[in-house]
């Protein structure tokens, strides 16, 4: 579903992503690990067509994002590290607005049901988003993915700053999305969550994908060792 071939992106003389090759299939959660500046966010931005590539290609559902930016965006939901919504509007209103941009008209009751499905309590759904915690806002993002039946979920460090319970809830939601057949690409620093939630783990260092593992094949401690070895290399 997500196909990145020989992707290269430079910022001036700095190579942010170097000849990256990465594939995420339907029903797969691909966790991209790496230090700050490793190229994780640039990889996600290239899938959103927010950066111009020096080489290679990024495809979603077989379509090149550079050629079909709006069509590829119809298939995906993006949740940044700090999902910002319109604070003066309620969760329902925010959800209805962003769904509307994809041409999906939601009734209030339908919006509530999606938010509930994403784990947001009904009374919170009616409240202004300005009073939401980060975890609650992430749930609105997941509700958006559910409502739009997104085939691709791009997550940029979605669990950073979440408390363990909220992080666990979020992981459960991701697993639900995986079971719905979504292809999930998640950039994260959270080794534990990557091992627990992911199906595949990629480790990036200085713009290159230096290792790729099946989550089921490694233990938590193995993953940590492998990760640290790559970072110290």
């Amino acid at each position: 579903m997500i196909d990145i071939e020989n992707l290269t992106k430079c910022f001036g003389n700095t190579v942010a992503v170097n000849n990256l090759k990465l594939n995420v299939a339907k029903g797969e959660i691909y966790c991209l690990l790496g230090a700050n500046g490793a190229g994780k966010t640039t990889t996600i931005n290239s899938l959103l067509n927010l950066v111009q590539l020096e080489g290679g290609s990024a495809k979603i559902g077989g379509m090149n994002v550079a050629d079909e930016p709006l069509k590829t965006k119809e298939k995906l939901t993006y949740i940044p590290e700090n999902l910002s919504l319109y604070p003066s509007l309620s969760g329902i209103e925010n959800l209805r607005f962003f769904c509307g941009l994809s041409g999906i008209k939601l009734s209030d009751s339908k919006a509530v049901s999606y938010l509930k499905e994403a784990g947001l309590q009904v009374d919170s759904a009616h409240k202004r988003v300005g009073g939401y915690s980060k975890g609650m806002r992430q749930k609105v993002g997941i509700a958006l993915a559910i409502a739009r039946s997104s085939e691709v979920l791009l997550l940029d460090e979605p669990t950073s700053g979440l408390d363990p319970a909220a992080s666990s809830d979020f992981a459960t939601l991701l697993t639900d999305m995986k079971e719905r057949g979504a292809a999930v690409l998640m950039a994260t620093h959270d080794l534990f969550r990557a091992k627990e939630t992911g199906t595949k783990i990629g480790i990036m260092n200085r713009g290159s994908l230096v290792d790729e593992l099946n989550a089921a094949d490694v233990t938590h401690s193995d993953l940590e060792k492998i990760y640290l070895n790559h970072m110290r290399a």
Partner: protein, 434 residues
């Protein structure tokens, strides 16, 4: 998609202070300006009606008095009390006619140059006196000043538009929602344009609705072609300022930079360009000072006075048929000279006036051409023209007065020159302005 973004913008914007500020303050400002405008015009119309009534009363009184004299019911002792005397009817005291520039239907919208140039004046055989409402006759003029709809539209509306449009996209960047918008299957530029169109329609709607409601309340007729032209002009002007907001939002600048930049443009278009234009026209076409003109007038008057007898003798030689020789009354001998001197003075003044008028005309023409660089100046000039309060129209009063004075003189002077007095029936033929 547009309907969706419009409905969301409506939901969003009605929770903002800027919107409620605009909804409450802008209609009040428009209403207040139209109230002042309609009061100003009411005062003008009252002034005109009052003067016309006084004039009618004066000439009716003259006619009644003359009829009484003709019947032998009354007598006059002195020539200046005789209502049959052309001088009494055309020159002295209340005699003479007032020329008015009647207010146009859109006059309440723009005071224009009314606080500088008069809209009426009095014509007698020798004088053309522009008059103005003074504070005693019309204290309202002192209170209202130039606060009119044109001021609200040209100066204040852009500020409301800036408040409504300066941060449409920059605030999305600052609050973080821009990232989510970028991931949507709609171009961000399209979202920006649609948001701006909605806000434009909102501000435009508030202005037009307020204008129409207040106009109906204050009796200003806008339901005609001029009203449509006004609405079109307002839409273009509002679109100009919204376009500037769009431009700033397209740059990746902060809301603060946008606000300062747009306010700077407001200052540029409304203050700096007019000052620069003024500087250019006064530098290229300098007009001699007013003091110089007054000195020139005095010189002419003194020269006519000095050459008085010679001027009169020449006139008598040239116009023997317009002068009764022999034993004529003293007032005739005095006033026939005064008329000749007044005519000579006017001819010389008109010659001298050209050196002041020509640069002023050139200034006006150049300023008119340069105004295109400032949409606010262009709109202001257009509004004043539609309201009939522009410099050109108010200056046309002088021409109208001059034209009527000629008609007035042609009616009275031959009678006076031949020493022919009027009958009461002939008083009905005394000229009156259209």
């Amino acid at each position: 998609m547009m309907a969706h973004i419009f409905s969301f913008e409506w939901l969003h914007i009605r929770k903002s202070g800027a919107f409620w500020g605009t909804v409450i303050v802008l209609p009040l400002l428009i209403g207040f300006s139209l109230f002042l405008g309609s009061e100003r015009i009411n005062q003008q119309e009252e002034t005109i009606a009052g003067i016309v009534a006084e004039e009618t009363s004066f000439y009716d009184g003259m006619r009644t008095q003359l009829e009484a004299i003709e019947r032998g019911d009354a007598e006059v002792d002195a020539w200046f009390q005789n209502p049959a005397n052309p001088l009494v009817l055309g020159q002295f005291g209340q005699a003479g006619r007032h020329i008015f520039l009647q207010p146009k239907p859109l006059a309440p919208l723009a005071a224009g140059q009314l606080d500088i140039l008069p809209y009426y004046g009095k014509v007698t055989l020798t004088t053309m006196e522009p008059l103005r409402d003074n504070a005693l006759e019309n204290p309202f003029m002192q209170v209202s000043g130039s606060f009119d709809f044109a001021f609200v539209l040209v100066w204040l509306v852009p500020l409301f538009i800036i408040v409504m449009g300066y941060n449409v996209i920059s605030s999305e960047r600052e609050s973080g929602t821009y990232a989510l918008l970028q991931s949507q299957p709609v171009s961000i530029r399209s979202i920006l344009i649609q948001k701006m169109i909605f806000r434009f329609l909102l501000v435009f709607g508030i202005i037009i609705l307020s204008l129409l409601v207040w106009s109906v309340l204050f009796g200003i007729d806008l339901f005609n072609i001029q009203g449509l032209q006004l609405i079109a002009a307002i839409s273009l002007y509002a679109a100009f300022w919204f376009a500037l907001c769009v431009l700033f939002n397209l740059f990746r600048t902060s809301s603060a930079v946008n606000a300062v930049g747009l306010t700077g443009l407001w200052v540029f278009f409304l203050l700096i360009i007019p000052s620069v234009i003024s500087l250019i026209v006064t530098s290229l076409h300098p007009v001699p000072s007013r003091a110089l003109w007054i000195t020139e007038q005095r010189t002419i008057q003194q020269s006519v006075q000095a050459e008085g007898d010679a001027i009169f003798d020449t006139w008598v030689v040239d116009h023997p048929e317009e002068f009764v020789e022999g034993d004529t009354p003293q007032f005739y001998n005095t006033w026939i000279r005064r008329f000749v001197w007044a005519q000579a003075t006017e001819e010389r003044e008109r010659e001298a006036e050209r050196q002041f008028e020509e640069p002023r005309e050139s200034q006006a023409q150049l300023a008119s051409r340069l105004r295109v660089f400032s949409p606010p100046m262009t709109l202001q000039a257009w509004l004043e023209q539609k309201a009939g309060t522009d410099t050109d129209r108010l200056r046309s009063l002088e021409n109208e007065m001059r034209a009527f004075q000629q008609e007035w003189q042609e009616f009275f002077l031959p009678r006076f020159q031949r020493l022919e007095f009027f009958t009461s029936d002939e008083l009905a033929d005394i000229p009156a302005p259209q």
